[in-house]
Amino acid sequence: MAMKYIEEYRDADLARDLTKRIHRVSKKKLRLMEVCGTHTMSIFRHGIRSVLPDTITLLSGPGCPVCVTAQKDIDAFVEFAKLKDVIVTTFGDLIKVPGSTSSLGKEKAEGADVRIVYSIFDAVHIARENQDKEVVFCGVGFETTIPTIAAGVLMGIEGNLKNFSVYSANKLTPPALAALMETKGVEIDGFILPGHVSVITGTHAYCGTFEKYDIPSVVSGFEPIDILKAILILIEQNEEGRPALVNAYERAVSDEGNVKAKAIMNQVFELCHATWRGIGEIPFSGMGLKKEYQAFDAALKFNMNLPDVLEPKGCECGKILMGLKTPEQCGLYKKKCTPMTPIGPCMVSSEGSCAAFYKYS
């Protein structure tokens, strides 16, 4: 496996040089938000906060798909697991997320057939091998994942699989950024835009948000050098008063994005309203199955339409996702809420900001 793309972007000398420049340029107090959970983890894992000047505060945004999944959707996954002759297939991160009364992990321990998959194609395979059972895939993802889910649905059609369906809790990034900017009390001086998502969407997907709010925005990769560079650009833009939308991840991201992936996504899915945990409903921020693919819609197939429920008392995940609070400002953090006994999803997901705070600081 080629390590070139990892080692080059972890170069210690280059990192020191970027850090020095950040310290030299930074004068104003700035609040910069990394939108993607993978950025959050990389920032903590490489100790990036510890090398930044006091003027810079990094906020973790709503970019971990598990963290923004509404309680009612988690409850739906749990309900599927309780059904007889249903195999629930899911990405591993969802297993421990507590719903109102149970979690997929607890149901699994009780005997439910819950299987962790690394891709929807594994779920399609399981459906093919278990034609006497119903196989439901928990669709939780952003633009990075949605095209693969669409491809899974198309595979289901091709294989004439009548026992396969998808519960779509998928979400889109740009509408969430706009919703954040409209939220009272939210103070953000710049966005570190998600690299993986941008590979699919392309930089152009952020033009609307950027033009409307005139906010410094940089598409960034995930290695420490990438992130330090993005932070430096955001500081420079702020100090010079010249906001811009910059692609600093040119080795992976183009202006148009992955046209083929977007086409498959738009073939199978269409825009719909979506409920984001802690934020509420954001119009046209979700992706639901189009009418012609509704045979694969698990929510319709099993008539699963649960009411949204209040999040656990004291859980500040919503405010943390919007940068209004830090994990340490939540009364449950490290007391009742730990990775072993998570209350909110930000503590469960490996990319959640509370989990990152707990693990690395």
Binding site: A12, H46, G47
Partner: protein, 336 residues
């Protein structure tokens, strides 16, 4: 314990395992040997000190590149005894077999157990075999226990780390865990990684008979180096700082970890030890380890600081610092 049922996490070797041990198991079997929480118990019998240890193996799949559940089970117990500073002598083997398991496979496993014992100079002296109906166990589970003799001059324990100690790892990290993972159904990929499963009693013997001062020996198995260092930091009441750039990790292992989001600090090793030695003896001990056939990639990876936080920190590539916590959540069930 807050959980009502046993979860996979309880077997991770990380935080949840520790809470089960300290809240459920330890209070019921309280005693000075168990309370020390070393890899094995040290038993005082008049003039003689014995090390006694047990371990069960449930690895899935049973066969993997570089080894199988059999040699893994023998080496694992040999290493646990060796980490007490003891010379391993005798081993017991308990087999739990699933009805229908091929005798041909069982023979291969038993042959590699015999081979591993021979290589390490220990004898398998007692055992037991049980068979359960098909579906009531998965192919084969093995328990091994072992006894070793601790030489008079030896005093190593996870509680002996001192400020200023140098931390040495005997070779590359995460090889075993990533090897087993690479053979798992649903995640198969080609690589030339193989398990590092090996007996370390020879290496330990060379270190302890060199005249060098050694405070701690531990094999970072389940839970990985990160968890082992945390255990030592707590047991000794010290703070440990390791250097990311110094950690020896093979390229394919590093690449696989990056791809799948695993941290090599928490992935199991089955043929590595970590040694805490005073600065004055660090180079000598490092050279002894490097001369051993299983220690060629040994490296100094950190130091014990003057602080007493009981925590472990990592100096990152870019010059930052971050906490290395004990493993929370099971990264990979049934890895050993």
């Amino acid at each position: 314990m807050t959980e009502e049922k046993v979860l996979l996490d309880h077997g991770s070797g990380g935080k949840v395992s520790h809470s089960m041990f300290s809240e459920l198991i330890l209070p019921l079997f309280e005693g000075p040997e168990l309370s020390k929480q070393d890899d094995g118990a040290t038993l005082e019998m008049g003039e003689m000190r014995l090390a006694f240890s047990t371990d069960s193996y449930v690895v899935d799949p049973v066969f993997f590149p570089g080894g199988n559940i059999g040699d893994l089970a023998v080496n694992g117990t040999i290493n646990d005894i060796a980490m007490c500073g003891a010379v391993p002598k005798f081993i017991s083997v308990g087999l739990i077999l699933e009805e229908g398991f091929p005798i041909k496979d069982l023979k291969i496993i038993l042959e590699s157990m015999a081979g591993a014992a021979r290589k390490a100079g220990v004898r398998i002296v007692t055992g037991d075999t049980k068979v359960v109906p098909k579906g009531k166990a998965d192919k084969i589970f093995i328990n091994t226990s072992g006894i070793g003799v601790i030489p008079l001059h030896v005093n190593v324990s996870g509680a002996n780390a001192k400020p200023g100690d140098v931390v040495i790892i005997s070779g590359t990290l995460a090889d075993h865990g990533i090897t087993v993972l690479s053979t798992r159904e649903g995640l198969k990929f080609d690589s030339d990684i193989k398990t590092d499963s090996a007996p370390l009693n020879g290496m330990v013997h060379s270190i302890l008979n060199s005249g060098c001062d050694v405070h701690v020996l531990r094999d970072p198995t389940r839970g990985g180096l990160g968890t082992t260092l945390n255990e030592i930091a707590v047991q000794s009441g010290v703070e440990i700082v390791i250097d990311e750039a110094a950690l020896p990790i093979r390229g394919p292992v590093k690449g696989t970890c990056e791809l799948l989001g695993f941290d090599p600090l928490y992935i199991a090793n089955e043929g590595k030890l970590v040694a805490f030695v005073p600065e004055k003896d660090a180079t000598a001990v490092l050279e002894i380890i490097q001369k051993n056939e299983y220690g060629k990639d040994a490296a100094i990876i950190g130091r014990v600081s003057e602080k007493t936080s009981g925590k472990v920190f990592l100096k990152t590539f870019i010059g930052g610092t971050r906490l290395v916590d004990m493993l929370t959540g099971d990264q990979l069930p049934r890895i050993c």
